[in-house]
Symmetry: C2
Subunit: 193 residues, 2 copies
DNA sequence: ACTGTCATGTAAGACGTTACATGATTAC
DNA sequence: GTAATCATGTAACGTCTTACATGACAGT
């Protein structure tokens, strides 16, 4: 149900088409949730059938068309229900740590390659998240601006603070993974001697 | 392919039945990978069809039966190939951080409930992983003992070190999540004033 | 004319979850 | 005898990925 909640969260700020939602999943919200078009379009139709959103057909030029989705009161309630419901924590499935547990079965060079790739992977994420925090602080985040525009004055500070808090968590996680990979590289060195 | 790799990793230490593998996924390896029986049994059969494992039928009592799976040289090679291949990092899908980004839309009490549950969730994991590290240090980890028994002398230190390293990473991650949740609780307090 | 981006999808398959079904053996 | 645990599955469903299909519009 998290895809649905992510879609509702975006649509609650203002109507969007499937295509625009897809774009959001590559930028802002994409940092915490991702979905391809092939998942979004069918989900939107199911949500419309269930009355959580309504589609509004628009024309573009002569024959072009797109469908803007609006959240209904039922959709709004569904989102808030989700926000209040206990999160379903999934059982761990962590390929990187699984592999780490068996690094002695490959050559030190190969172990290093894995750990360096892990570090690189998280450095890339870290860079994205840090720059997102800078954009939030500078008031330049487009998604946050859009949200603040429809937010009552007294909630603006909270909206910004929680958004920043979210990214801080991601940044800390990335730093933890990077530090772990570096300790792994040091361990490979130590074991080789 | 990670389920397959996890199964091969376990079977490389020694033959096991589907039932025993299932058990392992609730304890030792279960800390980094989980799978229910309904996934394990069919996967083992597919792996046998592909020649990665061979099943050996055994009897138990009068009519009882079980099937012990052994890794073949092809299975061994497949595991090492996986160890050497680049890890497929999945796009983020993080319900907890998704929710955190919208905490201003619920009451402070509800935001606190979510953050406390998050902290609790990770404290429970942390306790498990820390006790696993203590077991490793005390030489009491059954899975590690089993692995060390089939490991050449010169690789024993590495095997133990990588196993500990894996759990250290999990412990650090849990601590990061706990610290984040606590900062979130402090933030809720600050915003309420 | 051609490229890029807007726009919406289908199809097939891999992966995972939950619930249920069935029967044997072991320990009390 | 009865409960626990050993042992192996099936069925239905939900989620997610990858690849492909189709066409319109906008700018050069």
């Amino acid at each position: 149900m998290s895809l649905r909640s992510a879609l509702l969260a975006l649509l609650r700020v203002g109507p969007m088409s499937g295509y625009e939602l897809q774009k959001q999943f590559s930028v802002s919200v994409g940092h915490v949730w991702h979905a391809p078009g092939s998942q979004i379009y069918p989900e939107l139709r199911r949500m419309e059938e269930e009355g959580l959103v309504v589609g509004e057909d628009q024309t573009r030029g002569e024959r072009g068309a797109r469908r803007l989705y609006h959240v209904t009161p039922a959709g709004d309630a569904a989102f808030l229900d989700w926000m209040r419901s206990p999160l379903g924590y999934l059982r761990v499935r962590d390929p990187a740590h699984l592999r780490a547990a068996y690094l002695e079965s490959v050559e030190p060079a190969e172990a290093r390659a894995f750990l360096r790739a892990h570090e690189e992977q998280w450095r890339a994420e870290l860079a994205q998240w840090e720059s997102e925090i800078r954009r939030i602080d500078a008031g330049e985040s487009p998604m946050l601006q859009r949200r603040l525009a429809v937010t009552a004055d007294e909630e603006r500070a909270a909206t910004t603070a929680y958004k920043r808090f979210t990214y801080e968590g991601l940044v800390e996680r990335a730093r933890t993974e990077i530090a772990w990979a570096q300790r792994g590289l040091a361990l490979v060195d130590r074991l080789e001697r």
